[in-house]
Structures are given as structure tokens and as C-alpha cells.
């Protein structure tokens, strides 16, 4: 493991890990930190907020025992094993190393000359909420009717028949985080999905993944609402809008806590009126919901960091972070990750200072960084996007290994989504989300040959029967076309 990768792992927000644990406990009906537990938690008449009213119904596909033998293994946390083996049993990574024995009945895959990696995780996708084809009825990602819509949940817009999902799968994406758009200061909750086919979005939801909150800095909210002659029309209007909402959320949290304390003490107490918008914001203040914030400019990110201190919450990731390279020290100090593109920018003033070395420089200067797509085409080749970022960083003199850079595609986004103890790296006991690449995945010519999700073969480039086709494509000219 490279020095930078270790630093990354070590510096990964303690708060993220902690809040993930909280959320997992909350979602699985266990003890919750704040009293904001399930309505059915069995403590008599005390009113609780149901944290998981739309639970995951995801079930892994049946899988056998698989030994992927003799490939170059990048483990996603900085390790590289030549002539390495990965053993999958019961949907989990059972072993990783060299010279592993194939258990009886195992499917053995010869990976000689090929690469084995953790599945790609895209922390910023709008698949399902802006699905293909991009017709008016499919524009479901921005509730752009008022600037604070923390009450909406992206999962309620996800169309599981978006053909974009299967194209992303062919690019090795096994997990993706789908967010509302950036028209609003508070866009609503995001949802983390397994990249599997399901009849419902619940069938795709990553079990026990914490909820997230999409927030947006800068030009988008002020353009959308300023254009309608209402606040926010400026950057300062944006910040006033966030703060006003956080004050309401703080009061709401205090009211609930006061109520729970009284009720638990057996006093006569009536609960506050439940408010969907403030439920989400309270979840952030309680550390149960992770903030994923669209923010381009360095100075804007610094303002948001101060605001998070003012109200006592943690920003998990700045998305787009076009100027992250200007403030890696500030991001590292505050345990905030940056999710960025390799080489897109210029489309608005706040994206003007885009540079190709952003990802590599942010990482090398000590902050947690990762790739993201924000695009239904870009999500299909995130490995190439990392290859460009890595090559550009190296040309600028940064010493970063290929193995270290795979963290930008898997373990860093997993950690930033609060699922880093389940997926994102090839470690014993982790979900067997694995990609077998036809060659070095940093080559333009390499393709994902096979993709496993929870140990189940989900995509095979050489077997049309193992390439999912969404309902929408049936009977269409492009059916089965990759």
C-alpha cells in the first residue's frame, strides 16, 4: 500500500464511519443514538420516527463458489498481487492471495493476463431519475419548485427500467449512488443502489446503506430561483437559505429530544408535528444522514465548511469539486472527500478552473479523493477516467501507483457512502463485487469481461444470455446492443 493510500484510509472521516454505524443500527431496528428510532420499537406510546419506511428488498442472486485464478489483482485499498487468486464463496470474498486451492465444485476461471478488481462504485449518478430516453416525462431529478426540498427522496423517482443501468454494468459498475439534481439548496435524499435488475427500486437498494442528503452550492440554485425573481438569487442568498433551514432543523431536533426525554421519564408530553423536510435535516444533525454536496469553487467549499461547524454537522463529500486541488489541506483537516471528474469543466464560471490533475493533486496533497461520473455515458468507463487522472498526475511529478489509484474507483466512494465495511475492496468477508477485466483496466482497449455482484455472475461480455436487457429495450431496434 502506498503512503498516500494509507493516509487516505487513516484520514477517512471518523464521523463517516461512525454515522454509518449509527445508520446501520437504525435501519436494522437496533439501538439508535437519538431516539429517532422506529415507530414500532416497542416502548409503549412514545412516538418515534420511522427511519426506514421503504426498506430494501434486495436479495443477492444465487451464487456458487468461484475461484478467479492467476490474474493481476488490485485490491482497491492500494494492494496489488501478481498471479493472484480471488476466492468467492457464499457471495463473499472468502480469500485473496496466491496459490489458493479450488474448493470442490468451484468454478475456476483462468485470469492469466487479465486484471481482477473490486467493482466500480459511482458516487454521483442520475441513472433512474434522469433515465434514457431523455424525454419530458423522464425529467424526474430536480424538484425545482422551491429551494429547500429536503423532503423529497431520489428513490421515489428512480425508474428501475432505465437502460443506462445495464450499460454501466458493462463498465464494471456494481454500486451507484443516485442523487437528486442541483437546482435546489437542499435537493433531497440520495439512494445507494446495487447495480442489479429489479422490478422495483426497493429490489436495488443497498441493504443498510445510510441515507444521504444532496445539497448544492453556487450558480445552479441562484440561477434557477434568481431567474424567477425570488431568493436565492446570489451566493449570499444561498448561504442564508441553508442557514435558515439549519436553524429550523436544530429547533425541530431539540423539540423531539425534549419530547422523548419527557415521554421516557413518564411525563405527559405531546410529540412535535412530523415534518418530512426537517426529518431529513435532523438526520444530518444526528449524524445518521451523510451530506453529499455539489460545490465547485474552493472559496465556496470553505464557506460550507464553516457553516457545518456553525450547526454541528459533517460534510462527507464535495461533489464536482473542480477546485479541490486548491484546498486539499482544508479538506483533509475537515475529513471531507472530493468526488471529481477527470477532465470536464468550463461550462460555467464556477467550473472555469478545471484542471486535469485535480484528482491526483487533491489525493497527493493529503485529501480523500475519488472519481465520479454525473453522466450516463461517463459512468460506463470510469476506469478510463481514472487512467487519465493518474497519467496526468504522474506527468506532473506525483508518485501514485496503479493499485493506489483504484481506491478512487472503489474504496473511497464506498467509505464516503458509509458502505466501506461491506464493499469497495477485495478483503476477506466483503461482498464479492468483482470485475474481471480483459487486460489492464487503465488501457483504452480493455473491457470488463465479467462482473460479479455479491458473488453472482451478473454480466458476461461473451455471453448474450448474461447481459441484462431492461423492459424498455424489448422489441426496440437497439435491443441487446451494448
Amino acid at each position: 500500500m502506498g503512503i498516500n493510500a494509507m493516509k487516505l484510509t487513516a484520514s477517512l472521516p471518523a464521523t463517516v464511519a461512525l454515522s454509518a454505524a449509527f445508520a446501520l443500527a437504525a435501519c436494522s431496528g437496533g439501538e439508535t443514538p437519538s431516539g429517532s428510532g422506529s415507530a414500532n420499537s416497542g416502548d409503549g406510546d412514545i412516538v418515534r420516527i420511522n427511519l426506514d419506511p421503504y426498506p430494501s428488498t434486495y436479495e443477492p442472486q444465487p451464487s456458487g463458489t468461484t475461484l478467479i485464478r492467476g490474474g493481476t489483482v488490485l485490491d482497491g485499498i492500494g494492494g496489488q498481487i501478481e498471479n493472484g487468486d480471488v476466492l468467492i464463496e457464499n457471495g463473499r470474498i472468502a480469500a485473496i492471495g496466491t496459490g489458493l486451492e479450488a474448493p470442490e465444485g468451484a468454478t475456476v476461471i483462468d485470469a492469466a493476463g487479465r486484471y481482477v478488481t473490486p467493482g466500480v462504485i459511482d458516487i454521483h449518478s442520475h441513472l433512474g431519475v434522469y433515465p434514457s430516453p431523455g424525454v419530458r416525462a423522464h425529467s424526474d431529478g430536480n424538484e425545482a419548485t422551491q429551494p429547500v426540498t429536503a423532503e423529497v427522496w431520489a428513490e421515489h423517482s428512480v425508474w428501475p427500467q432505465d437502460p443506462g443501468f445495464e450499460h454501466a454494468l458493462a463498465g464494471g459498475v456494481t454500486t451507484l449512488h443516485v442523487l437528486p439534481g442541483s437546482a435546489n439548496l437542499f435537493g433531497g435524499r440520495g439512494v445507494t443502489l446495487r447495480n442489479v435488475s429489479g422490478r422495483t427500486v426497493q429490489d436495488m437498494k443497498f441493504p443498510d446503506a445510510p441515507y444521504t442528503l444532496k445539497m448544492a452550492c453556487g450558480e445552479n440554485p441562484s440561477r434557477v430561483y434568481g431567474g424567477r425573481g425570488r431568493s436565492p438569487a446570489t451566493d449570499m442568498g444561498n448561504v442564508a437559505g441553508y442557514r435558515e433551514a439549519w436553524i429550523r432543523a436544530s429547533n425541530y431536533r431539540d423539540d423531539w429530544h425534549e419530547y422523548w426525554e419527557s415521554a421516557e421519564a413518564g411525563e405527559d408530553a405531546s410529540p412535535p408535528t412530523q415534518d418530512l423536510e426537517l426529518d431529513t435535516l435532523m438526520g444530518v444533525l444526528e449524524g445518521e444522514i451523510l451530506v453529499q454536496m455539489h460545490c465547485y469553487r474552493a472559496d465556496q467549499m470553505a464557506q460550507i465548511i464553516d457553516m457545518s461547524h456553525e450547526f454541528g454537522y459533517q460534510v462527507t463529500t464535495f461533489h464536482h469539486g473542480v477546485e479541490a486541488y486548491k484546498i486539499p489541506d482544508l479538506l483533509a483537516e475537515n475529513d471531507i472527500c472530493a468526488a471529481v471528474w477527470a477532465d470536464w469543466g468550463g461550462f460555467k464560471m464556477e467550473a472555469y478552473d478545471s484542471i486535469r490533475e485535480n484528482l491526483a493533486m487533491t489525493h497527493a496533497n493529503g485529501a480523500c479523493a475519488m472519481i465520479h461520473s454525473d453522466d450516463d455515458n461517463g459512468i460506463q468507463r470510469l476506469n478510463q477516467e481514472v487512467a487519465k487522472a493518474l497519467a496526468d498526475g504522474r506527468r506532473a511529478g506525483l508518485d501514485i501507483s496503479e493499485a493506489e489509484a483504484w481506491a478512487w474507483l472503489s474504496s473511497n466512494p464506498a467509505n464516503a457512502l458509509g458502505i466501506g465495511d461491506e464493499t469497495g475492496s477485495l478483503q476477506e468477508g466483503y461482498r464479492a463485487d468483482v470485475v474481471l477485466w480483459s487486460g489492464n483496466p487503465y488501457s483504452t482497449y480493455t473491457r470488463a469481461d465479467q462482473v460479479w455482484i455479491d458473488g453472482a455472475l451478473s454480466y458476461d461480455r461473451s455471453d448474450a444470455g448474461m447481459q441484462p436487457v431492461r423492459d424498455f429495450m424489448l422489441g426496440q431496434p437497439g435491443e441487446g446492443e451494448q
Binding site: 440561477r223 470536464w344 460555467k348 488501457s443
Partner: protein, 423 residues
């Protein structure tokens, strides 16, 4: 490094059009894009702006400045067949965006090169990635026509635009149908009427009479299209619409078409090949992004190549003023999806030049071609490769952009010099 860059800057300033320099680019794997194919360990000799010799046994004259490719690749510059380079500085800031003019009374008469800014900061960031020439496209404003496009280099020099009035752009896809009043029939009817206006120019415009579709200025600008002297580049994706376009060309000789978009072209590949109509596609477009492109496929490029269609690649899914530099990645992905390497590389170099009628000057390394030469540190279609030197019209260019300046300012975050006082 810095001194090297300044030296280049000086030489650029002094490089008046009357060039008198000789450069020998040596010790590289040369992709000629000619019958000579690939030349191993060869030399390209450039004198007074043009290529004068290419081969393995080329003697380096004493006066030549040597650029050592150090075993890398030497290729013609990349030629983007579709871009908005130099027209837009910041996409969402209308004041910096000269791509379209929805409020103008004119359409075909608009010459996009009047808005081309060689000082735009995105031009050096394309150049240092190996892009040396580009077709500059207008977008549509108030009818199906966007105006006339031109051809430019990425030198950043005053004479960057080397041809204007190179083609006329029209949208016959679903968005063109919207512009025309709401349906595809409306778009084709408008096109037919516009062509009749052009053919009738100037007689039909005697006195106060106007055309049926176009005013006199627009009709005059469309006349070279009607006469087949300038191609009409049509944005179109759906297979049925492509068939309609083929029929349009048959019915309107000597009108010449080029199709851009062409997401479903593979479904009509043989008809396209027979028609001789070149197509400009994005080989990465594989999603049914709208109902015109339900058949979009990563195999589009390979099917068209196999059918013998003339194909150039564009970066239609990336911003045309910011990222045509990604063309080599697009071509590499076409290779990964079944196109032979040579054909894919031509699709971003020689084929675009040929489509616009300048294939005898650009897109290949051979005597008589302009000295647009790129030295790469590896296979140019590999995403991890990059140019180490870029010559345009026989002159080395600075490997520097506003982006690299920002990089250099911020790479050492702990330096005590305040950022605004750094280079």
C-alpha cells in the same frame, strides 16, 4: 522547463508567416496515414511550414532543429470534424457564447468564423493534447439552419481560421423538427423551400419579393449548397431519417450531404455506403438518449467501417468547445469495439480533412502536407498517453495552457509564496 516554454513563446512571437525554419522530428514510430503505413524509427522533416520528407532513412540537414521523439509516436495532428472551438469561453455565460443566434433575422447567412476567438483559453488546452485542426460549427437559432461553418487551426494565431464558408449546418433531427414548427415533415418542407429559394436567387428576390423560406441573404448563402460546391452537414440520428436524407440527396443533385450524429447509421450502413454520404459519429454514443437514437450502439463505428462508409469521429457527448481533445479516447474505444486501429486513427485525422475537402493538406504525414505533427509518449489512442511536442504549420507550439498554469501554481500547496504571486 520554464525557460524552454519562454523560448517557444519567443519563437512564436517572431514566427511571422514567412517561416524559414527546418525541424527534424526523429526517432519515432511514424503513423503516416498514407500508403507508407507505419514507419518504425523514422524521421519527419519539416521546412518552412510544410512537410518535406518522411521515412526511416531521411537525412537530417545541418540547419535543422532536432526534436527527439525518444522512441515515441509521431503522427499527424488530430482534426476534430465537429466542434464549437473558439466560439464559447464559458458555456452558460451568453456573453461569451457565439454558437447560436436565436434572435437574429438571419440563419444560413451567419458565418460562424466571424465569432471565432483564437485567444480563447480552451484552444491551447486542445492543442497540448494533440488537436491541431477543427471544423467550427454553429448551432441552430430560429430555423433548421445554423449558418456556415469553417475550419481553424489551434495555433492561437491571428490566422487560425484557414477556411470559412466550408459547409452549411442544418438540423433535421427531432430538435430540427421542433424548430421547423413541430414535425419532421415540416422540417423537410422547409428545407425543400429553402433550397428552391437559393436556386431562385437572385431573380426571385427582385424588388420587394422575399423567398418562401429564406430572406435574400440566407438564400444567397445557401446557393453554394444548392450548386454542390459546399456540403450541407445535417444533424440526424434516426435510421428512417437517414434514409430520408439519402433520398433527399438523390433528388437534389448536385447537393452533397454530410451526416452528423447518425446514432442509428449502422442500421442503414449499406444504403449509406452506396450513397457515398460521409458520416460523423460519436463512437461512445450507445444509449437510447432520445427516441431518435433507440438503436444507438457501441458497434456503430465497426458496422459502418465494415460496410465501407466514410466515417469520422466526434466528441458529441462532450462539450464541443472544451473537450474535442478527447477524440483519441473516443477512437481508442472504437478500436476496443471492433474497428481496426488504422481506420479509427484516420477517423480523427485524415478522414475529417477529406470530408471537408482538405485531405491533400491535412491529416497525413507526407511531402506537401502542412507541418501539423504531434509527438506522443505512447500509442496516441491510449488514455494514458500524451503529446510531448505539437507542431502546427511547421512550428513547435508551447505545451502550456491556462489549465497547466493553474496546476503549476497549486501543485506545491505548502510553498510560502502567496498564491497570487506565483507564476
Amino acid at each position: 522547463m520554464k525557460q524552454l516554454i519562454s523560448a517557444f513563446a519567443v519563437s512564436l512571437t517572431l514566427a511571422a508567416p514567412a517561416l524559414a525554419q527546418t525541424y527534424a522530428i526523429t526517432n519515432g514510430r511514424i503513423v503516416t496515414n498514407t500508403d507508407s503505413g507505419i514507419v518504425e524509427n523514422g524521421t519527419v522533416l519539416v521546412r518552412d511550414g510544410d512537410i518535406v520528407a518522411v521515412g526511416a532513412g531521411v537525412e537530417v540537414p545541418g540547419e535543422a532543429t532536432v526534436i527527439d521523439a525518444e522512441g515515441g509516436w509521431i503522427t499527424p495532428g488530430v482534426f476534430a470534424p465537429y466542434s464549437q472551438l473558439g466560439l464559447i469561453e464559458v458555456g452558460l455565460e451568453d456573453s461569451t457564447n457565439d454558437q447560436a443566434a436565436g434572435e437574429s433575422p438571419f440563419s444560413v447567412a451567419l458565418d460562424v468564423t466571424d465569432g471565432f476567438n483564437p485567444n480563447g483559453t480552451h484552444i491551447p488546452s486542445q492543442r497540448i493534447e494533440g488537436l491541431t485542426r477543427a471544423a467550427i460549427f454553429p448551432s441552430t437559432g430560429h430555423n433548421i439552419f445554423g449558418g456556415q461553418g469553417g475550419l481553424a487551426s489551434t495555433s492561437g494565431e491571428a490566422d487560425s481560421v484557414f477556411e470559412s464558408g466550408s459547409f452549411v449546418f442544418a438540423d433535421l433531427s427531432q430538435s430540427g423538427a421542433d424548430e421547423a414548427g413541430g414535425s419532421r415533415p415540416a422540417a423537410w418542407a422547409f428545407l425543400a423551400a429553402a433550397l428552391a429559394d437559393a436556386r431562385g436567387y437572385p431573380g426571385r428576390f427582385a424588388g420587394d419579393h422575399e423567398g418562401d423560406a429564406l430572406n435574400r441573404y440566407d438564400a444567397a448563402a445557401l446557393l453554394p449548397v444548392a450548386r454542390g460546391r459546399v456540403p450541407l452537414v445535417m444533424s440526424i440520428n434516426r435510421a428512417a431519417d437517414i434514409r430520408r436524407a439519402i433520398r433527399f440527396q438523390e433528388d437534389n443533385a448536385p447537393v452533397r450531404l454530410i451526416l452528423v450524429g447518425a446514432a442509428e447509421a449502422w442500421m442503414v450502413a449499406d444504403e449509406l455506403a452506396a450513397s457515398g454520404i460521409p458520416v460523423i459519429i460519436d463512437p461512445l454514443q450507445d444509449l437510447p438518449f432520445n427516441f431518435d437514437a433507440i438503436g444507438a450502439s457501441l458497434q456503430n463505428a465497426a458496422h459502418l467501417d465494415a460496410a465501407g462508409v466514410t466515417v469520422a469521429y466526434a466528441t458529441l457527448s462532450q462539450d464541443g468547445y472544451f473537450n474535442p481533445r478527447l477524440l483519441p479516447q473516443n477512437a481508442g474505444n472504437a478500436v476496443a469495439n471492433g474497428v481496426p486501429w488504422d481506420a479509427a486513427f484516420r477517423a480523427i485525422t485524415l478522414t475529417p480533412a477529406e470530408i471537408y475537402g482538405v485531405g491533400d493538406r491535412y491529416g497525413a504525414l507526407a511531402p506537401g502536407y502542412a507541418g501539423d505533427v504531434v509527438v506522443w509518449d505512447g500509442d496516441p489512442l491510449e488514455v494514458m498517453s500524451a503529446p510531448t511536442a505539437v507542431l502546427i504549420d511547421g512550428e513547435p507550439t508551447a505545451m502550456e495552457s491556462r489549465q497547466t498554469r493553474l496546476r503549476d501554481r497549486y501543485i506545491n500547496i505548502t510553498d510560502d509564496t502567496p498564491f497570487a504571486y506565483r507564476d
